[in-house]
């Protein structure tokens, strides 16, 4: 297949995806060996993990705050929140900066792999279980060939009481 036809093929796929309003795009990231995904429209940017100022007396999964071009942004480590065994900070560790509930929050993940388009029939309802991650915070499970993506409802998760990111009394 020539490069040109490949490109046009991709273009067709893209326009097909655009036409199909039911399907949506997700940013896939990894926590340990697991693959998670968030609605790409919530994502503002992806940056490296650096220069985080610790906040005293905060839950351990709140790593602190960082300076994002003059804006103070809290950083949450989802690996600690989801009780993953290995929490390391290295070159691959990235922060996904998301916009939820008119706030900007950074979430630390082990890596970002790709952007996927999922059609409604590829999204299965989340089973009723989960101790570390209540199914309330999931918008479903995405199945893609033999991969399973945990679709996180980032809005619900980050504004939930247990994340302690939002001051309830102030509202």
């Amino acid at each position: 297949m020539t490069a040109v036809s490949q490109a046009s093929n991709q273009l067709q796929q893209a326009s097909a995806a655009a036409l199909d309003t039911q399907s949506s795009e997700f940013l896939v990231f990894s926590l340990g060996d697991e693959e998670y995904a968030v609605d790409i429209l919530k994502v503002q940017e992806i940056r490296g993990y650096e220069n985080v100022t610790r906040i005293a007396n905060a839950p351990d999964f709140i790593k602190g705050v960082t300076n994002l071009r003059g804006v103070i942004v809290p950083i949450v480590d989802l690996r600690i929140k989801f009780h993953l065994d290995k929490v390391e900070y290295g070159g691959q560790t990235v922060v996904i900066v998301v916009n939820v509930a008119e706030r900007v929050v950074g979430i630390v993940v082990d890596g970002v792999s790709d952007v996927m388009t999922l059609s409604p029939d590829q999204i299965k309802p989340a089973p009723e279980f989960g101790v570390a991650l209540s199914s309330d915070y999931l918008s479903g499970l995405g199945s893609l060939d033999d991969r399973m993506l945990v679709l996180v409802d980032i809005d619900k998760l980050l504004t939930s009481e247990e994340m302690a990111l939002v001051d309830r009394t102030a509202k």
């Binding site: 100022t53 906040i55 602190g64 705050v65 300076n67 103070i72 990111l165």
Partner: protein, 711 residues
């Protein structure tokens, strides 16, 4: 044509004029009014009328018209002021304000209220003018009286011919050449139309650049300017007289377009009987003579007139944010450059020094834009005190001090409500009735002082009354019945703080002024939300002083950066009293784990920052640390840190925008290296330390006390 875009300007200017009017009315000495003030009040009413007419706010125009006539008589000494007349004027001013608000919201003002105020004012005009003018005026009054109170719309329309009739009669008043410079067609049409209302247009010619209108009128150039300035800038206007010098001056004054309808309907004899005072005629004559010269001097004058600029606050905030970013970038550069050799890179260092200075100057200049004088707040109290005192049958004199003290705009707007509440409280509960005061051997007139002053990086606002003071016993009894934990051994300060508890009121009777007990807690909360605190000093029988301490601005903070372990924190410099290295002999332990530091005969509790904020790797031996004596919310304590890093101005960034309130932390800032540093909240840190103390005591780890105290 569309003139709605000018509405907002008119509303703002009119609001300011009304504010001026009220201030002057309140300051007015009823027995011996200052002619300058009377003139100022008159001018305010006149300008509003002019603007209202231009924009077709007929009700507003008509109300101001009647008020203006009364004011005109007042300033000419034809109407003798009394307190109740001033009250009526104030009422009318409030009505104008209501009407203005109605127009601003795109509605028509309440016609009933309009009718009522017109009636009141007209009645006042008839009664008072009739009295002061004697018989001949009395006849005229009798003639004018049958006129029924007008309906809003017809009168406003009817007014125009009335006015122009008065003006045609004054054609001999002189011709003016009004030149419009660089005014576009739309505005010009409107202006010419407006000029037509002021007098008779003899001739008009010219183009966009310069359009001249020869106007036959008795209206003074100042008044024309006042009317026109709602549409064009003063420098776009040139008014000169055409053969004005020959015009008799007295008629020009007499035949003003703004005479009261009651007077206008009178025979000219009335006017003749009340000759204009000589000093009033003279300036008018002077003015006429100077008129040609005035056109030339107009440019210079307009320089000062247009020296202020209306800018939306968010634009200013945007500039402040950008300057904040600039300062951060500048310190970042500074830090990088400090690694270079000073000799070989001297040009770079010089340039950076210059940049630093300029950036600071710029920051200061920008911050000063947001600063507003306290007068903005204080100026609304004379009225409130006057009305309240009358309602409560008390004699109160209001004294304001430090009106020019400047405070950040965002703070100044938020201080109004709490301060109003405190003033109401002082009037209602503090200052006693005249009889009670006399019985207590105090002057019958109570004194309420509002003062503002700078103290370090704070502003101190005080509400001082010389009333009865707080009653300790009553407060304690009340607190007990409210289920608050109290004891007789509480210090006065602690007892006074009780009144800030929710639902607390010592008033025996709930009045509509205060006493419902909702309020003082809100006052305290509001002030704390602004980063300030409230203190009360009270002596029974001598009065109460409520002191509000506020930071000058919320956007910039003078900070001291300190280090604990590897972490850098910012202490607000205003809270820092001194810093020292503690001596082992000055440290005392109390109840096992609490530590006290003796500083100049004072024992201060010691709070270790690394313990409160769980910082790892901090120095634990107290004598190797630095102790910073800090003060917050009246509490003084010694804060243990590892090192002092330096002093710097920091740009305050809200933590709650994206995160939440953090105990012990007031906000965050960005350091020169781009990292975030947290700004400590001195008072909250103390609370946090007390909350954590029980936990610390169960801590199996070695205690600070054991490490530092000599065995």
């Amino acid at each position: 044509m569309d003139i709605t875009e000018f509405y907002e300007t008119f509303f703002e200017e009119a609001e300011e004029l009304l504010g001026d009017m009220e201030r002057h009315l309140l300051e007015l000495d009823v027995d011996d009014p200052d002619p300058e003030q009377l003139n100022a009040i008159f001018r305010a009413a006149h300008s509003i009328k002019g603007g209202a007419g231009t924009f077709g706010f007929l009700v507003l125009q008509e109300t101001t018209h009647i008020l203006e006539n009364l004011l005109d008589h007042t300033r000419r000494g034809e109407l003798t002021l009394r307190r109740d007349i001033v009250d009526t004027f104030l009422e009318a001013k409030d009505m104008l304000h209501d009407q203005l608000d109605a127009y601003r919201n795109g509605a028509e003002p309440d016609p009933e209220a309009f009718e009522r105020i017109c009636k009141t004012l007209k009645q006042l005009a008839l009664d008072e003018l009739g009295k002061s003018m004697g018989d001949s005026a009395g006849n005229a009054t009798a003639a004018a009286q049958p006129t029924p109170p007008p309906e809003p719309e017809p009168v406003a329309e009817a007014e125009t011919p009335e006015e122009s009739a008065a003006e045609t009669a004054s054609v001999e008043g002189g011709a003016l050449c009004v030149a419009l410079l660089n005014v576009n067609d739309k505005d010009r049409e409107l202006l010419v139309e407006e000029l037509g209302q002021l007098g008779e247009i003899r001739e008009q010619r010219g183009d966009d650049k310069r359009y001249e209108v020869i106007l036959q009128t008795g209206v003074s150039t100042d008044d024309i300017e006042a009317v026109m300035c709602f549409i064009v800038e003063p420098e776009q206007l040139q008014i000169s007289s055409v053969g004005a010098a020959s015009a008799p001056a007295t008629p020009a004054v007499e035949a003003r377009a703004d005479d009261a309808p009651a007077v206008e309907s009178k025979p000219a004899a009335t006017k003749a009987q009340v000759p204009a005072p000589a000093e009033q005629a003279k300036p008018a004559a002077d003015k006429a003579a100077k008129a040609p010269a005035k056109a030339a001097s107009n440019k210079a004058k307009s320089g000062s007139e247009s020296s202020s600029l209306r800018v939306p606050v968010d634009k200013v905030d945007q500039i402040i944010n950008l300057v904040g970013e600039l300062i951060i970038t500048q310190s970042m550069l500074d830090q990088t450059a400090s690694e270079f050799d000073g000799v070989t890179h001297s040009a770079l260092h010089n340039g950076l020094n210059l940049l630093q200075r300029n950036a600071r100057d710029l920051q200061e200049a920008v911050m000063s834009i947001r600063m507003m004088p306290m007068d903005y707040v204080f100026s609304r109290f004379p009225r409130l005190v006057r009305d309240l005192a009358a309602k409560l049958d008390k004699d109160v004199e209001l004294v304001t001090e430090g009106k020019s003290t400047e405070l950040d705009k965002s703070l100044i707007e938020r201080i109004i409500d709490p301060l109003t509440h405190l003033v109401r409280n002082s009037l209602d509960h503090g200052i006693e009735s005249p009889d009670k005061r006399e019985a207590a051997g105090k002057p019958r007139t109570g004194k309420l002082t509002l003062s503002a002053q700078h103290q370090g990086g704070n502003i101190l606002i005080e509400v001082i009354d010389d009333g009865a003071g707080l009653n300790r016993k009553k407060l304690l009894a009340k607190a007990e019945s409210n289920g608050l934990a109290v004891s007789d051994s509480m210090s006065d300060d602690e007892v006074w703080q009780l009144i800030f508890a929710p639902g607390f009121s010592t008033a025996e009777k709930v009045s509509d002024v205060s006493g419902r007990g909702v309020g003082m807690d809100v006052v305290k909360r509001n002030i704390q939300a602004m980063g300030g605190h409230v203190e009360i000093v009270s002596r029974e029988g001598q009065g109460t002083t409520t002191r509000i301490v506020l930071p000058l601005t919320l956007a910039i903070l003078d900070g001291m950066s300190i280090k604990v372990g590897d972490e850098v924190f910012i202490l607000p410099l205003g809270a820092v009293l001194e810093s020292l290295q503690p001596n082992e002999d000055d440290l005392y332990s109390m109840a096992g784990n609490d530590l006290l530091l003796k500083v100049r005969d004072e024992y201060l509790p010691v709070i270790a920052l690394h313990q409160v904020l769980d910082v790892q790797g901090a120095r634990t031996k107290l004598t190797e640390c630095i102790v910073v004596i800090v003060q917050g919310e009246g509490r003084r304590y010694a804060l243990v840190v590892d090192d002092l890093v330096g002093q710097q101005q920091v740009v305050v960034k809200n933590l709650e925008t994206n995160y939440r309130k953090v105990p012990g932390i007031s906000a965050a800032t960005i350091l020169g290296d781009g990292s975030v540093a947290l700004i400590l909240d001195i008072a909250d840190l103390h609370r946090l330390s007390r909350r954590k103390a029980p936990r610390r005591n169960n801590d199996p780890q070695p205690q600070l006390v054991q490490e530092v105290l000599p065995s």
